[in-house]
């Protein structure tokens, strides 16, 4: 049963993920790949909203991308992008947020950034890549291990994002503005 607040929170975080995609990528200097902040939104939605509302937020985001809104980083959108080589990563966003939320509800209910980091890394990186790599392997006609190798360049950036998400989520929890799941 979704309360009015649940609906509003999921919609706001779906819009946040879209807003993160419109920001120019953050260059980090020491990394070859600039960070696009979109998967940061996956981790934040899961860690702050929990499994149900976080997963729903990213589901709304993916639906609007499929509907043809240019919400992915670089102004891309449409079913074609979802069917493309990197489509599996986007399709796995809702699962990533759900897994992050599920783990956060079990193991990281406090403001401990280390626990939150682990939760964000498993949900926001492991779960998302578990969807993205097999998809890439099918679309590009390449063996699974080569597809995995091809996306390794993005892993360091994603760990930095998990760190940012963990520290931000911990600070928000300390601020005490977080709504409970059954408000």
């Amino acid at each position: 049963m979704l309360s009015t607040r649940d609906l509003v929170l999921s919609a706001l975080f779906a819009a946040l993920v879209a807003g993160l995609g419109m920001a120019p990528p953050i260059p980090l200097g020491f990394l070859p790949v600039p960070i696009t902040a979109q998967s940061l939104g996956v981790m934040l939605a899961g860690a702050l909203l929990g499994a149900k509302r976080g997963g729903l937020a990213l589901l709304l985001f993916v639906l609007l991308v499929a509907a043809g809104l240019p919400l992915l980083a670089g102004g891309r959108g449409g079913v074609g992008v979802l069917m493309g080589p990197s489509g599996g990563f986007v399709l796995a966003f809702p699962v990533g947020a759900f897994v992050t939320g599920l783990l956060a509800e079990r193991f990281a209910t406090g403001a401990n950034p280390i626990r939150l980091f682990a939760v964000c890394a498993i949900g926001g990186i492991l779960a998302v890549y578990a969807g993205g790599i097999p998809w890439l392997s099918v679309v590009a006609g390449m063996p699974l291990e080569k597809a995995a190798l091809a996306v390794m360049a993005f892993i360091p950036g994603d760990f930095i994002k998990a760190g940012i998400a963990a520290f931000a989520a911990a600070a928000v929890r300390r601020a005490g503005v977080l709504p409970t799941a059954h408000a």
């Binding site: 999921s10 879209a18 043809g68 449409g78 069917m83 493309g84 679309v139 590009a140 006609g141 390449m142």
Partner: protein
């Protein structure tokens, strides 16, 4: 909120979103069932035919396709160099997907976002037995579309704050005020919806 839709007066544009989505699904299944090269040829010819019928500018369509095609070509190039053998099958598989991406892109360019959202709402109604509440999903989609410009502006402000400070050591600290603001905003919006008599227990059957 503008989508990727590109208006032209054509039969393809006038087709219903459901017909196009169903057609894309059927075409994908057929093409994937065919052997690689044949599938690529079938999807490619269908795509070219629709491209002409939809009267879309070829340059614009190709621009949409550039990113996935460049990526697929690079991946294929690496594989052909490293593996050497089996490149013909890989080429057929890659071309097949490129042609399918063309079909999907054509659907997006010829279908309005509002029509796609309507289609999703009809699909949610069909999922009602599974516990999906179509009225709530529709409201959330509408709210999200409404919030996107607002949140894009908020994220832009965070980025500007970051640039003003030079290379910020603690990017996380910059996101905290934004997140707190979003969570407070949620309280206000919830109160506003409740004040206007929104009833979350209404399943949208009797409107």
């Amino acid at each position: 909120m503008l989508g990727l839709y590109l208006h032209r007066d054509s039969a393809v544009h006038r087709l219903g979103a459901g017909v196009k989505m169903g057609g894309l699904l059927a075409a994908t299944l057929v093409v994937l069932a065919l052997p690689g090269a044949l599938g690529a040829l079938a999807a490619g010819l269908l795509g070219l035919g629709l491209l002409v019928a939809a009267k879309l500018p070829v340059g614009r369509v190709l621009r949409e396709l550039r990113a996935p095609v460049v990526m697929l070509t690079l991946l294929f190039g690496c594989q052909a160099l490293l593996a050497g053998t089996g490149w013909a099958e890989t080429l057929a598989a890659v071309t097949r997907f490129a042609a399918l991406i063309l079909l999907a892109t054509l659907m997006t360019l010829t279908t309005k976002v509002a029509d796609m959202v309507d289609l999703f709402e009809r699909l949610f109604s069909a999922l009602r037995p599974l516990g999906v509440n179509p009225a709530k999903m529709a409201l959330m989609l509408a709210l999200t579309i409404r919030f996107i410009p607002l949140l894009a502006e908020q994220v832009r402000e965070v980025r500007m704050a970051q640039q003003a400070r030079g290379v910020e050591r603690n990017i996380a600290a910059l996101f905290v005020p934004l997140l707190v603001k979003i969570l407070r905003l949620a309280d206000d919006l919830t109160a506003a919806l409740d004040a206007r008599g929104y009833d979350p227990t209404d399943d949208g059957r009797h409107t």
